[in-house]
């Protein structure tokens, strides 16, 4: 593996982890808004219990992506930084408002309603904007005038591909988060909440799959190079779709824990994460060597080799140190029954 490939793999790894964690994070914020008024069910509590300890960790990943991008690929960052000034700034503003008000809502119980709406709605818009970076890298939306790269907003927002991605981002956010919250409530023995989130997942799953097909359809016309590249990875895409159906079946299997409800949500969550992984692998592989088609490749925008070596060393040392911390965190918040089943609201 070349240095460039290692670097893009690390970057893509961060993006994948962030995508999964962020959809859960944004989705949980949305669901806690939707089910806020249902006092009887614990659906909101469950969402908040997941959200409270994780949002900071999730937020670190977005910074990690940006840092990995400019440290490994300063050339690509130069172009992306220039063209993404406006959309990037809007994402930042929404993110700031959302994170802050999430914390405020937690502390100031009486403002909770208004604050929860703010964090819930912004949590849905942010994924839609974030994913727009992908179609921008497919080419055709950046034009260079007097040596300065510019984003053609008019072209972007009249492109069906952009809307396919936005639809996919929103439906995936809601799908993944409802599925994870179903699993989380199942682990916490909150059956009423489990049934609500299971139902939401069953509705949203097929919608997000349709959106994924819509992406492929629009890509065929608008980014033919990428579509043809992805067709070379057809087995991965078929595997991805198969995982989707496995997840669907898992939600109808007899429950391993309870007699009154159906479904094995943990299996479904694992299958869906594998589904997204396979699909994103096919997409990422087909995207290479281009970072931004057709101007920036992973070779042309690459950092200085000495810097790469130093960074790579720091990655190995850093994650060796952090790993026990992640394990401890996981055990305290995802496995500890005392946390999952508590009655007071966090």
């Amino acid at each position: 593996m070349t240095n460039e490939l290692i670097a893009i793999t690390v970057l893509w790894g961060f993006i994948f982890i962030y995508a999964v964690m962020a959809t859960l994070d944004f989705g949980a914020g949305f669901w806690s808004m939707v089910y806020m008024n249902r006092e009887k069910t614990k659906a909101t509590n469950i969402a908040n219990r997941y959200l409270s300890p994780t949002w900071e960790v999730t937020n670190v990943f977005i910074v990690a992506i940006v840092v990995a991008l400019f440290s490994f690929f300063p050339g690509a960052t130069f172009v992306l930084g220039t063209v993404l000034l406006i959309p990037g700034s809007i994402i930042l503003l929404l993110l700031a408002i959302r994170s802050a008000f999430l914390v405020f809502a937690h502390i100031a119980k009486e403002y909770k309603k208004a604050l929860t709406y703010i964090s819930g709605i912004s949590g849905l818009i942010i994924p839609a904007l974030l994913i727009s970076v992908l179609p921008i890298t497919h080419g055709g939306f950046i034009e260079t005038v007097d040596g300065v790269a510019r984003l053609r907003m008019d072209k972007l927002f009249t492109s069906p591909q952009e809307y396919a991605f936005i639809g996919f981002a929103i439906s995936s956010t809601l799908f993944l988060s409802s599925l994870l919250l179903a699993d989380y409530s199942n682990a916490a023995n909150e059956l009423e909440a489990y049934l609500i989130y299971r139902r939401d997942a069953l509705i949203l799953g097929p919608i997000s799959l349709l959106m994924a097909l819509f992406i492929m359809l629009t890509m065929k016309n608008e980014a033919t190079w990428l579509y043809e590249g992805m067709m070379n990875y057809l087995p991965w895409i078929i595997g991805s779709i198969a995982m989707f159906f496995i997840a669907g079946i898992a939600l109808f299997l007899p429950s391993a824990k309870h007699t009154t409800v159906r479904g094995r949500p943990r299996l479904a969550v694992v299958a869906i994460v594998v589904q997204y992984f396979l699909a994103s692998y096919a997409y990422g592989k087909a995207h290479l060597p281009y970072m931004i088609y057709p101007d920036v490749t992973i070779q042309s925008g690459f950092t200085h080799p000495n810097t790469f070596r130093a960074l790579f060393t720091s990655y190995i040392v850093g994650f060796a140190i952090l790993f026990p911390g992640f394990i401890y965190f996981w055990r305290l918040f995802m496995k500890d029954k005392r946390y999952l089943q508590q009655n007071d609201q966090h």
Partner: protein, 451 residues
């Protein structure tokens, strides 16, 4: 206004806003750690209550510190793509290592806040120690990038190409240790004085409730002790910072001191403002020979004046005033701590006189102000360079345009967040007065953490 000015204003506003919360995010965890340790040592439950309440406040502040820090980090690439291209190739290590520090801080902050009731006291102390270490490390690392901008190392630019890259030489650039030390000890000082301010204010308001009064008195003493120690360290380190400027960025020191002519036995001008026309500092108190002594430990030290440099390299001359304000506040805070120490420990008085109490109340806001002055001085004093003698700020700025609208939008959001954070803190602490927590005679103190 041209794009460069707007870009600088926008990024400056982001930093000015972020730095308040970031500083407290570094300073307050250390105070929580001190309170936790004192609780273990004295078994006085008041310290556990302090740790709990400060953590609550900290959680709200982090709700702004983290997103505003995210903005600052991403805005670097959006507003200064030319600068970040160089940083990416040469100086990305501190950013990368900072990510690990963020992770440590975020993981253990969540553990400390949301799992306090399920882990042992020592695990709790370990968690908050790691939060303090993570926060301080990220401050140290980001300051390292700032240090690099002033004293770049580890690369050369040849025909527009970056060559001879040595990322570790860039990392350990000449001003790294001193600059990072300055930021960390001044953040610890600020955290301590903000705690002292709040405690002093509460003591004046709650004079008649002995229980509450005594609680705040303990917090005040803790805040003043820590604040005193760290303000002393900040001053000592500040002296080293100035000597470093003398060696590496002489025109910045010259602008800070309003010195135009190169000379030995140079005088120190305190106060006043720098006048470009007459090339002098007006209304200043001049102490002969002192600047030479401060810069190089001897009166013969030749200090270079601004006239040694082409005028387009001069930093803006108002930095003299900023520099003086920062140093003045630092000295004043040190004085407060010394008087408080003498009053309490040597004269053995139990209460402080009212004017001194008002001085303590002012200490927190003043230290935040000093941090602001210090940062503005450090960054505008480096102009016109973004990387000293390597890259001009004007060559690093984005060519995209449309910056004015963004400047307005970001400013509005900072105002909203700033107002909300005050409202939420007031709301929470008014609804949860300390007396309720002091009355709870629970043996298991940790159970309070989770509520």
């Amino acid at each position: 206004m041209d794009d460069l000015i707007i870009a600088r204003s926008l990024f400056g506003t982001t930093m000015a806003f972020h730095i308040i919360f970031a500083t407290l995010g570094v300073g307050i965890p250390l105070m929580v750690l001190f309170a936790e340790l004192l609780y273990q040592k004295t078994k006085d439950r008041d310290y556990a209550v302090m740790a709990n309440r400060w953590t609550k406040g900290l959680a709200v502040l982090l709700g702004v510190a983290i997103p505003s820090g995210t903005i600052a980090g991403v805005q670097l690439s959006l507003l200064w793509p030319g600068f970040m291209e160089v940083i990416g190739r040469v100086m990305s290590l501190p950013f990368q290592i900072e990510i690990y520090a963020f992770f440590v801080e975020a993981l253990f902050m969540s553990i400390y806040v949301y799992a306090a009731d399920r882990i042992s006291a020592w695990m709790r102390i370990l968690s908050v120690t790691l939060v303090a270490i993570g926060a301080s490390a990220s401050a140290i690392l980001i300051t390292n990038v700032h240090a690099f901008e002033g004293t770049p190392a580890g690369f050369r630019i040849e025909n527009g190409e970056i060559v001879d890259v040595d990322p570790w030489a860039a990392f350990f650039n000449p001003s790294f240790f001193v600059a990072a030390g300055h930021v960390v000890v001044s953040a610890f000082m600020t955290g301590a004085f903000v705690i002292a301010s709040l405690a002093a204010y509460k003591m004046l308001r709650e004079k008649h409730n002995q229980r509450v009064y005594q609680f705040h008195r303990k917090a005040l003493m803790l805040g003043l002790t820590a604040g005193g120690i760290f303000s002393l360290l900040t001053a000592l380190n500040g002296h080293e910072s100035a000597q470093l400027l003398h060696e590496y960025q002489p025109e910045k020191l010259a602008a800070a001191e309003g010195l135009f002519e190169t000379q030995s036995h140079a005088p120190l001008a305190i106060g006043g403002y720098t006048d470009r026309e007459t090339q002098s500092v007006k209304w200043a108190i001049e102490i002969p020979w002192l600047l030479s002594f401060l810069a190089g430990n001897s009166f013969d030290t030749v200090v270079r004046g601004l006239n040694d440099f082409p005028e387009e390299w001069w930093p803006p001359l108002f930095v003299h005033t900023l520099f003086n304000a920062m140093v003045g506040i630092g000295m004043l805070l040190l004085l407060f701590s010394i008087i408080g120490f003498i009053w309490n420990k040597i004269m053995k008085r139990n209460t402080f006189p009212r004017p001194l109490m008002w001085g303590f109340i002012a200490a927190g806001p003043l230290s935040v102000l000093a941090i602001e002055f210090g940062w503005i001085f450090a960054c505008t004093g480096r102009q016109p360079w973004v990387i000293y003698r390597m890259m001009k700020t004007a060559d690093a700025v984005t060519q995209t345009g449309n910056l004015a609208v963004l400047f307005i939008l970001f400013t509005i959001v900072y105002v909203i967040l700033g107002i909300s954070v005050v409202l939420v803190l007031r709301y929470y602490f008014n609804r949860h007065p300390v007396i309720h927590e002091l009355d709870k005679h629970s043996n298991d103190s940790s159970s309070n953490f989770a509520q």
